[in-house]
């Protein structure tokens, strides 16, 4: 006798991934984690079947993430999960323990693979919508993404404090909300808007926007793009998308002080 399968649809950037497992408590935990990104009405474009196990899934529990393709099938692995994903069938399997972090990483990686082919990317950045325009705030850990997000004014819709979702649609780059959180621990709002500007955060003694020229912007952008696959063709596509992106949106250094006054520059 086998346990009944439970499932939920996680919709990020308009792409629905159905996650199935035999443990109702696990699915319930994910439902709480992904909040408004769970949508049973949207037809799933990708299906992931999770095989929950208490056994170690890798020889090295601390192994870094590895993403490679063999005979058309993606192999995704880290110390805490081992997954396969068939991009043609849009079906994958994940072996992991009953924790939310492993499946979250698998979902992120699958989004990076999908986005690379669709003119988009995940970016290590906070992002928000204000006055109908999306603003991205890129920077390494400690640059100020969390502080900026924490001080977002009431009329700003926070898309993420850590990982932003960018995809070209109808000739325009859109930023979407994501449930991928950083230190703030709060999921973004599940909506999108055209990207107005990409800001590279710099801690400073005064709040100021400084234009970044395209070559420098591309270098900085690429340093913040999240992409894990060892696949030259997809890396090339991400490079092309990033190049197009810096030509299409305004790019700045955002010199910022702690506090909410920096938001006076973001309109």
């Amino acid at each position: 006798m086998t346990a009944a399968l439970e499932s939920l649809n996680i919709v990020i950037g308009g792409l629905a991934i159905e996650v199935t497992a035999s443990d109702a408590a696990f699915i319930e935990m994910l439902s709480g984690q992904y909040g408004e990104f769970v949508d049973s009405e949207t037809r799933a474009a990708i299906r992931l079947e999770v095989d929950l196990t208490d056994e170690p899934v890798a020889l090295d529990a601390d192994a870094d993430v590895q993403v490679s393709r063999e005979a058309g099938i993606w192999k995704l692995s880290r110390g805490d999960f081992d997954a396969r994903y068939d991009p043609v069938r849009r079906y994958g399997t994940v072996r992991q323990s009953a924790n939310r972090h492993s499946i979250d990483s698998v979902i992120r990686i699958i989004h990076t693979l999908t986005l690379a082919q669709e003119g988009g990317f995940l970016l290590h950045s906070a992002s928000a919508i204000r006055n109908g325009h999306a603003f991205l705030f890129a920077g390494r850990s400690g640059a100020g993404k969390t502080t900026l997000s924490r001080h977002a004014p009431g009329d700003a819709y926070l898309l993420s404090d850590e990982v932003s979702y960018v995809r070209k649609s109808g000739g325009v780059f859109l930023a979407w909300g994501t449930p991928f959180t950083g230190e703030l621990g709060t999921a973004g709002v599940n909506c999108s808007a055209p990207v107005e500007a990409l800001c590279f955060l710099r801690q400073a003694t005064e709040n100021r926007l400084v234009t970044v020229e395209e070559p420098e912007a591309l270098r900085l952008l690429l340093a913040n793009v999240l992409f894990f696959a060892n696949d030259p063709e997809l890396v090339r596509q991400v490079f092309e998308s990033a190049s197009e992106f810096v030509g299409a949106v305004k790019t700045f250094y955002l010199n910022c002080t702690p506090g909410d006054r920096v938001w006076e520059l973001i309109r």
Partner: protein, 96 residues
């Protein structure tokens, strides 16, 4: 060296922005940034033109430098680019 035929490898991703080439090797995601002079040489490296011809045609008139010193700099440059696998140096001309 001045008679070699530099050629851009076909497998690279690149974009010229404001006269500067940003080049990525997709095999390992390594990123390179060339200044305007280096970009002019790199873009002209079609595998059928000698380095000396490239310097005389693309560098000297645009950057107002004498050919001998420009050629010396160019030789150093192409060797450095070749060492990073973003340029191939051939002794014979080839197809583009």
């Amino acid at each position: 060296m001045s008679g070699c035929y530099p050629k851009r490898p076909a497998n690279l991703a690149s974009r010229v922005l404001k006269g500067e080439a940003i080049i990525m090797n997709p095999a390992d995601s390594s990123l390179f940034n060339l200044n305007e002079t280096a970009t002019a040489i790199w873009l002209a490296a079609d595998g059928r033109t000698t380095l000396r011809e490239i310097v005389e045609r693309e560098v000297c008139p645009r950057f107002e430098v004498d050919s001998e010193s420009a050629l010396r700099d160019a030789e150093e440059l192409v060797q450095a680019l070749a060492a990073q696998s973003i340029l191939i140096l051939a002794e014979e001309p080839g197809d583009e």
